[in-house]
Structures are given as structure tokens and as C-alpha cells.
């Protein structure tokens, strides 16, 4: 093997005496694509940040030998370099791109100025030359009309364009190594492939090595040459992507690879026409009033239509999946289905419909419950688990005494896999003591305790690690089988739809572009957008 570009040995990182990275070794050859894969908290991002001296208040030991032919023979230990020397390396020889391009770009400067600044700083270019180079870089990343875009502020660009601008900025000085921290996670599925292709072609053209940090196995399989799997601050497996995926040796790697959701639901029989659906929508439309720009806004309010003319039907014991990218109106649809937003058109829920007066909705509230995406904001941090889960009973089963209520709370928590044996004093605990997956189970218990017929699942697993996602989906499938629940499942993930749904709605820009049984929509997509979506999921 030729001399590696970067040779990391025995890297350990500890925060306040607590080890986060426990001595990892990895090498990157020039021009190579290495993926560091692991779940949240496995120490992958902090390992990459430490290479550039961007981790504060940590005890770092080990070595990271960086050999750059331009700098002369021999190598420099990045972990031992003083801050001044590191500043010369950052951006120039090792560049980094981040997950969220909106926060990584400065909102007060144009994109072109920000790229030009890097060039002026590191390459000593004059202002006009730097500007011209910035436009050229933007053109390289495939942004249409690069001259106009260079004068745009970050908020004027779309998410994909922002990520391209970030990449242009990172590549401005022709780095030898690019650290990409979850480069596509914040992007819609349809854009992810494009960004990966872009990174790959730029890497090829410039002979640059890429270290990509991700939790997304699809990305690894598609993009990387070699993969290092991290768990709890250790690299547990390491090898060529094809080999690791074909024959994973470590059991954690196997678990990761097996974490693709499995379909385990009772298939839809012939939809009995006599049976009343749990939810049926006809011409459902949701709009917000927005302020108009300019003088017109003084006199009139504009209207933004978030959901336009949606028709669907959800039978008992089945799952209707709603898929689309951010801003497609799928979460608005969920809120309307919950009666939390005013809507037009007809929406029949369990034989009734939402009334404007809150008191008139009590029976429907019991029939329709919800589980939200973010398990951290969906539980009040100042209420105990007993209070959170028991609250529904106070409202819908007020006749129960304290003991009966507590028994129901315990039973429901046990149904979602949280028992007194695992967590002594379960009901008196507060949400901060539970992990993301456990919190999501608590949120499911809160919804289940009033014995609803329909659960609205708004991205129930998007905030969770892949292995936890699989467990939660299995739980939801089991609950559906046992209780005949119907699910309205909102997601952006084709894999989740494939595993869970009986029927699918594909949404784009507030309209339903395609709908039908899951097999039909995913295996023979009719609409161009659906085809892109399915193809992007691999």
C-alpha cells in the first residue's frame, strides 16, 4: 500500500473523564472514499472534528499523521499541531462540509462572497479574481446560472443548492481530504443521489480523498470504497464495502445491515365494500393565510394552500402511508386528520367529523390519536411518565379510580415493552431518563391508552437510529395485528412505507400525485415524481 494520506492511530477522546472515542485506528489513501458509519452517540462526528482541532474541552490523545506531497515529504501529526498551523490546514488541505447547510453558511453574506473569502484568505487571490473563481466553483457543482446564484444570499437558495454551495466553498482551495458529516441527511431523498454523484465526480476530477460520516447504509453502499463501523467509540469492523455488506463479521454490523424494516402485516383482503372506513376524505383542502409582500399586504391577506383536494379512504386494521418530501403538505394533512387545523372539504372519521367546538369532539378525540416524530419534544419534561400516559384516562375514562387508572397505565406501558422490572419506579420517572426509542414507546402508550381506532403516525421513526427504528416498526406492526388499529403513516422513507403500508398517497407541493395499493405504487409507479422517489431509495 502506498503511504496513506491520513493515518489515525489510537485516537481517544474524552469529555470530562468520560470516554467518547476509545482508541480507534483508520487510514485513508489519497483519492479514497472511506465511510465512518454508526448510530448517534457512537463518536463518529467527534472523531472527524478532532482531526481539525474543532473539539473543545476534550482530552484527545493518539496520533493522526497527515502526509501531503505539496508540503514536502514526511507527515504532520494533526493532533499535535498548534492552533496556528491547523488554521493553515483547515479549508486548504482538509475541508469539511456539514449536515445542515443553512446554519453552516453565514446568512448575512452572499454565497459568492463567502466562497471568495476563503480564496482570498488561503490562496491570496485578489478580490475580482476570487469572485471569478467562486463563480467557476459554483458552476462546477452544477448550480444553474452560477453568476446570479453567487449574488444570492443563503436563504434565497433551495436546500440542494445550499449544499452545493457549501461543497463549492469546501473545495475552493483544492483540499486533499474532504470530511463530509452527514452530507445528505438534511436533504430530500430525491436530492441525495444528485449530491452524492456530485461529490464522487468532483473527487474523481480533483483526486481528493473523502471521509464521509453517516448513519445511512444506503449511502455507504452506494458511495464508499471502504467502510469502518463504529459502536460506542470503537471501530468494530473495517473493510471494503462489498465485503462488509456481503459477509458482516461483527454482530453489531449484522444488526445494522439487518435493520432494514421488514414487512410483517396482515395483508389487505379484498376491501369489503360494506364496511365503513375508519377515515375517508373527499376533496380535503387546508390553507393558511399569509401576509402578502409590499403595499398589497396592508389591505389583503394572501392564501397558501398546503393541501389541495386530497381524497383517500382508510379501512379498519390497515395502514395508509403518506409519502412526500418536506413541504409537500403531508404533516399538514396529519394535523387536519387530527382536527387540529381547520380544513375544507369532507373528512369523515369513525362515522363523524370534526366540529368547530372543542367539547363536541370528545368521542372523536378518543378514536383518533397521534404519535409525533421527535421523541424529545413530544413528552413534557416536567411531567412524570405516569402523568403523561394517564392523562388520556382522566379525560376519556374519568370514572376510573386512582388504582384502576394506575393499573391501566402499567398495562399499556407493558404492552409497548416498558415494564416495572426493567425500570423500577417507572411511573414516577421523568422523560429525561429515557432514550429516544423508549420515549417513542411512551408516546405510543399515551396514544394507546384511550383505545383509539386510528393512530396518526407523523414520521414516527425518522428521529431514531436504524436499529431502534426497526424495533419501533415491529412494535407498531404487532399492535396493529393484535388490536386491529388503523394507521395514517406519514413518512419520507420508502422503506418504511414498503414495510408498513397497505395503500399509499404520494404527495408533492400539496397535491396527491399518485395513490393506490402499496405494491402497485411502489413497483409500477406511474407519476414521474414517484419514480424518482422509488429509485432514490435504491
Amino acid at each position: 500500500m502506498t503511504q496513506p494520506l491520513l493515518d489515525v492511530r489510537g485516537l481517544r477522546i474524552a469529555f470530562g473523564g468520560k470516554d467518547v472515542v476509545r482508541g480507534i485506528d483508520f487510514q485513508i489513501a489519497p483519492g479514497e472514499k472511506l465511510a465512518l458509519v454508526g448510530e448517534s452517540g457512537s463518536g463518529k462526528t467527534v472523531s472527524a472534528l478532532s482531526l481539525l482541532g474543532l473539539v473543545q474541552n476534550a482530552d484527545i490523545s493518539g496520533s493522526a499523521a497527515f502526509s501531503d506531497a505539496n508540503h514536502g515529504p514526511g507527515s504532520r501529526d494533526l493532533l499535535a499541531l498548534p492552533e496556528r498551523a491547523l488554521r493553515g490546514i483547515r479549508g486548504k488541505e482538509i475541508a469539511m462540509i456539514f449536515q445542515e447547510p443553512m446554519t453552516a453558511l453565514n446568512a448575512l453574506f452572499t454565497v459568492g462572497d463567502q466562497i471568495a473569502e476563503v480564496l482570498e484568505l488561503h490562496e491570496g487571490l485578489s478580490k475580482p479574481a476570487a469572485r471569478a473563481a467562486a463563480v467557476q466553483l459554483l458552476a462546477d457543482t452544477g448550480i444553474p446560472e452560477p453568476e446570479r446564484r453567487a449574488r444570492a444570499f443563503p436563504h434565497q437558495l433551495s436546500g440542494g443548492q445550499r449544499q452545493r454551495a457549501m461543497i463549492a466553498m469546501a473545495l475552493a482551495c483544492g483540499p486533499k481530504l474532504l470530511l463530509a458529516d452527514e452530507p445528505t441527511t438534511a436533504l430530500d431523498v430525491t436530492l441525495r443521489g444528485q449530491i452524492l454523484d456530485l461529490l464522487d465526480s468532483l473527487r474523481h476530477r480533483r483526486g481528493m480523498a473523502v471521509l464521509v460520516i453517516t448513519h445511512d447504509l444506503n449511502l455507504v453502499r452506494r458511495f464508499a470504497d471502504r467502510v469502518a463501523v463504529m459502536e460506542n467509540g470503537c471501530i468494530v469492523e473495517h473493510g471494503a464495502v462489498a465485503e462488509v455488506f456481503a459477509a458482516p463479521k461483527h454482530r453489531y454490523t449484522r444488526r445494522l445491515i439487518d435493520s432494514r424494516p421488514q414487512r410483517d402485516v396482515i395483508d389487505a383482503g379484498a376491501d369489503a365494500p360494506g364496511m365503513a372506513p375508519v377515515m375517508q376524505a373527499e376533496g380535503l383542502r387546508v390553507s393558511y393565510s399569509v401576509s402578502l409582500p409590499g403595499l398589497r399586504g396592508w389591505f389583503r391577506r394572501g392564501e397558501f394552500v398546503a393541501v389541495q383536494g386530497a381524497n383517500f379512504r382508510l379501512a379498519e386494521g390497515q395502514t395508509l402511508g403518506v409519502i412526500g418530501e418536506s413541504g409537500s403538505g403531508k404533516s399538514t394533512l396529519a394535523l387536519a386528520a387530527l382536527g387540529l387545523l381547520p380544513f375544507q372539504g369532507s373528512l369523515e372519521v369513525d362515522g363523524g367529523t370534526w366540529q368547530p367546538k372543542a367539547a363536541a369532539n370528545k368521542a372523536l378525540r378518543q378514536a383518533v390519536q397521534v404519535v409525533f416524530q421527535d421523541p424529545f419534544s413530544s413528552l413534557s419534561p416536567r411531567m412524570t411518565i405516569g402523568e403523561i400516559v394517564g392523562e388520556g384516562l382522566r379525560i376519556h375514562a374519568g370514572e376510573l379510580g386512582v388504582d384502576a387508572r394506575q393499573a391501566r397505565v402499567r398495562q399499556t406501558l407493558a404492552d409497548v415493552g416498558l415494564t416495572q422490572d426493567l425500570f423500577p419506579g417507572l411511573l414516577e420517572r421523568y422523560p429525561h431518563e429515557f432514550s429516544g426509542g423508549q420515549r417513542q414507546r411512551i408516546a405510543i402508550a399515551r396514544a394507546l391508552i384511550v383505545q383509539p381506532k386510528l393512530l396518526v403516525l407523523d414520521e414516527p421513526t425518522s428521529a431514531l437510529d436504524v436499529t431502534i427504528q426497526k424495533q419501533i416498526l415491529q412494535l407498531l406492526q404487532a399492535l396493529q395485528r393484535d388490536r386491529g388499529l388503523s394507521y395514517l403513516l406519514i413518512t419520507h422513507d420508502v422503506d418504511v412505507i414498503r414495510a408498513m403500508a397497505h395503500a399509499v398517497l404520494v404527495m408533492k407541493d400539496g397535491t396527491v400525485v399518485e395513490s393506490g395499493p402499496v405494491a402497485q405504487v411502489l413497483d409500477a409507479p406511474q407519476h414521474a415524481y414517484t419514480r424518482v422517489l422509488v429509485a432514490a431509495a435504491g
Binding site: 470530562g16 470516554d19 476509545r22 482508541g23 480507534i24 459502536e231 460506542n232 470503537c234 471501530i235 468494530v236 453489531y252 394535523l335 387530527l338 387540529l340 372543542a358 369532539n361 370528545k362 378525540r365 378518543q366 383518533v368 390519536q369 397521534v370 409525533f372 416524530q373 421527535d374 419534544s377 413530544s378 413528552l379 413534557s380 419534561p381 416536567r382 411531567m383 412524570t384 392523562e391 388520556g392 379525560i395 376519556h396 415493552g417 422490572d421 426493567l422 425500570f423 423500577p424 419506579g425 414516577e428 420517572r429 421523568y430 429525561h432 431518563e433 432514550s435 426509542g437 423508549q438 408516546a443 399515551r446 396514544a447 384511550v450 396518526v456
Partner: protein, 356 residues
């Protein structure tokens, strides 16, 4: 070290950890300066609540010719102790003192044998008198004992500040909660009202009202409360605006929880951090407000022991250094303790601070 595998998280048995409020208290206790400030401050307030026993011109118990008297609780005429008149006894009178301490008679005096309004007609020094064995902190320009004035003045200040803070918190939380929770037109209307209300000249109103009505502590409390809630209401409004968007509130709505219960049980406990953090600072602001109004002569009615009035006496009698110095000392100590407590509280409630 690598290759070490943690037991899968879901099977571990984890001990119960205390509630968020309790953890905040534990963090507060770890800040020793703030914690001891709280202890000292509470001790001072509790002691001042017993001022009638600690600093009074009447003996606590008198044993006089076989009978026991409790002058602190009950008035006795001079004749009881062998005087000539029916008037209430002046226990500072050397004649009475001599009567109740001669023979088998005895009396137990308060640690500081002067009340806030006591005038010692038998004092040997001209007023204001410098600190001496009789008056540990000296006397003011009317001959009243300064230590007694400080004890009672401190009590008035602290109780006034507590009441003002409590009223301000209740009003501020209610108005802020209504604005933040309902938003829209209600919020807009309230915000404009606050802007108009906040631009009223508070001091002039106080001067005008003190001209119309007889000055009293209650009137002052009402007037200051009318303007004291606005700052807090803004913070609570912002917290409610933020929290009402959170998924846990949406989930509660989806359960059919009533608005009132959502505000009270769900959002309010999560919005109390700025309220609690500001409590000590609001108290010190209230103490300062009362002191400065008293200093200007717009505060409590004349005759009420007050730190502000003492400061103004100190200004009038600049050579009687003991008046201004001791009052200043009490004020600085009080405000300093409150500030230390506020700092500790702010750190304790800072979500970025970890337990360890």
C-alpha cells in the same frame, strides 16, 4: 479497550433519578455562595419577623412583688409598679427600673431594649447620639434607637418586596400566559395595551396620588403593582409562544385536554424558568424602589420605620456618620445576598449545565 461491548441498553436496570425541579435544587445547593446567601437571608427575615421580641422597650417578663407580668403582650399602668399616674408605664424611666429590679423583683429585657418609635426621655446624650453602650448603633435625629429602626425597617422592606414580587409574578404570568397561548388578536391587543401602559410616567403618578390620598403601604403596593408586571409578562409570553408549538402540547390537544389544563399542567411548568430566575432580582428591585421612594418622602407614611427615610436622615445629618453607614450596610448586605441567590438560581436552572 476496543471490542468491549456494552450490554444492550434496553435490558439494563437503571435507578430512578430525581425530578427536574429536584435536580435544579441540587445544582443550587452545590453553589455554596448562593446557598449560604439563601440561608443567611432566610435567617434574617425570620429573625425580623420576631422583632417585637428582639427589639422592644418593654421587658419580656416582670416579676414584681409576687406577681408575674408580661408587658410585651399587655399594657400596665405605672401604678402597678408603684408609680404615681394611670398612664402606661415607661420602662426606660430610671424610677420604674429601680422599682422592678429592687428586692425580690426582677425583669427580663429584650436583647435590644428599644422599639422603633421609642423616645428615650431620660437619655444623657444629645440627638443624634453616637453609638454607645445604651444605643449600640446610636440614635437618629429624633432620639430613636437606630438598631431598632434598622430591624423594623428591614422587615418592612422585605415584606413589601415579597408582596410586590408575588403580585407582579401572578399578574405577569397570567397576562403573559394568555397572550402567548392564544396569540393572534388577543396577543396584539395586549401588546398594544402594555405599550401604552408602560409609557405612563410612574413617578409622576406616584407623586400625584400621594398628594390626593393619605400615604400608606397598601396604596404604594397597589400603585407599584400596577406597573410591576409588564417585564415578566413578556418573558412568560415568549415561553408560551414557544411551548405551545411543541409536540407535547399538540399531543395533549389531540387527547382532548382543555385549554385551561394545557396551560396549567403542560405549558406553565415548562415556562417557569425565567420567572424563578428573576425572583431574587425582582425582590432587590422592589426593595430599592421602596427605599428610593422613602428617601424622596413619597413612600411609607411618616413614623413607619424605613431604610429610605433613614438614608435621608443620614443625608440631612452628614456628621452623624453612624446613621448613613449602618443603613447603607444593611441595604448592601440585603441586595448582595439577593444577587448571589439570583446568580445561583440562574446557574441551577440553566439547561446547558450538567449535573456532574
Amino acid at each position: 479497550m476496543c471490542g468491549w461491548i456494552r450490554v444492550s441498553g434496553s435490558t439494563e436496570v437503571i435507578a430512578v433519578s430525581p425530578s427536574p425541579g429536584k435536580r435544579a435544587w441540587m445544582r443550587f445547593r452545590r453553589n455554596r455562595l448562593g446557598y449560604w446567601s439563601l440561608v443567611v437571608f432566610v435567617a434574617m427575615v425570620v429573625a425580623s419577623l420576631f422583632a417585637e421580641v428582639l427589639s422592644t422597650d418593654r421587658p419580656l417578663i416582670v416579676r414584681y412583688e409576687g406577681s408575674t407580668y408580661f408587658p410585651v403582650w399587655k399594657d400596665y399602668s405605672e401604678k402597678t409598679f408603684g408609680g404615681d399616674f394611670e398612664t402606661p408605664t415607661d420602662y426606660l424611666d430610671p424610677f420604674i427600673r429601680q422599682r422592678i429590679s429592687s428586692g425580690g423583683n426582677w425583669a427580663v429585657y429584650a436583647p435590644n431594649p428599644y422599639g422603633p418609635k421609642t423616645l428615650n426621655y431620660f437619655a444623657t446624650l444629645p440627638n443624634p447620639a453616637a453609638p454607645s453602650r445604651e444605643n449600640l448603633f446610636g440614635t437618629d435625629d429624633r432620639g430613636r434607637d437606630l438598631l431598632a429602626q434598622l430591624i423594623y425597617g428591614f422587615r418592612v422592606s422585605v415584606l413589601f418586596a415579597l408582596a410586590l414580587t408575588a403580585i407582579g409574578v401572578v399578574l405577569g404570568v397570567i397576562t403573559g400566559a394568555i397572550q402567548g397561548f392564544f396569540g393572534g388578536r388577543i396577543d396584539l391587543a395586549f401588546q398594544r395595551f402594555i405599550e401604552i401602559w408602560g409609557s405612563m410616567p410612574e413617578l409622576y403618578l406616584l407623586i400625584i396620588f400621594s398628594g390626593i390620598f393619605a400615604p400608606s403601604v397598601a396604596l404604594l403596593l397597589v400603585l407599584l403593582s400596577l406597573f410591576g408586571w409588564m417585564g415578566l409578562s413578556d418573558y412568560v409570553r415568549a415561553e408560551f409562544l414557544r411551548n405551545r408549538q411543541m409536540d407535547y402540547v399538540r399531543a395533549a390537544r389531540a387527547l382532548g385536554v382543555s385549554n385551561r389544563r394545557i396551560m396549567w399542567r403542560h405549558i406553565l411548568p415548562n415556562s417557569m424558568t425565567p420567572v424563578v430566575t428573576f425572583l431574587p432580582f425582582r425582590m432587590s428591585a422592589a426593595i430599592l424602589a421602596l427605599t428610593s421612594l422613602d428617601f424622596l418622602g413619597l413612600g411609607v407614611p411618616p413614623g413607619t420605620p424605613s431604610l429610605g427615610e433613614l438614608l435621608s436622615q443620614g443625608k440631612a445629618n452628614i456628621d452623624a456618620w453612624w446613621i448613613s453607614l449602618s443603613t447603607f450596610g444593611v441595604l448592601v448586605l440585603t441586595l448582595l445576598l439577593l444577587t448571589f441567590m439570583g446568580d445561583a438560581l440562574r446557574d441551577a436552572l440553566d439547561p446547558r449545565k450538567q449535573d456532574r
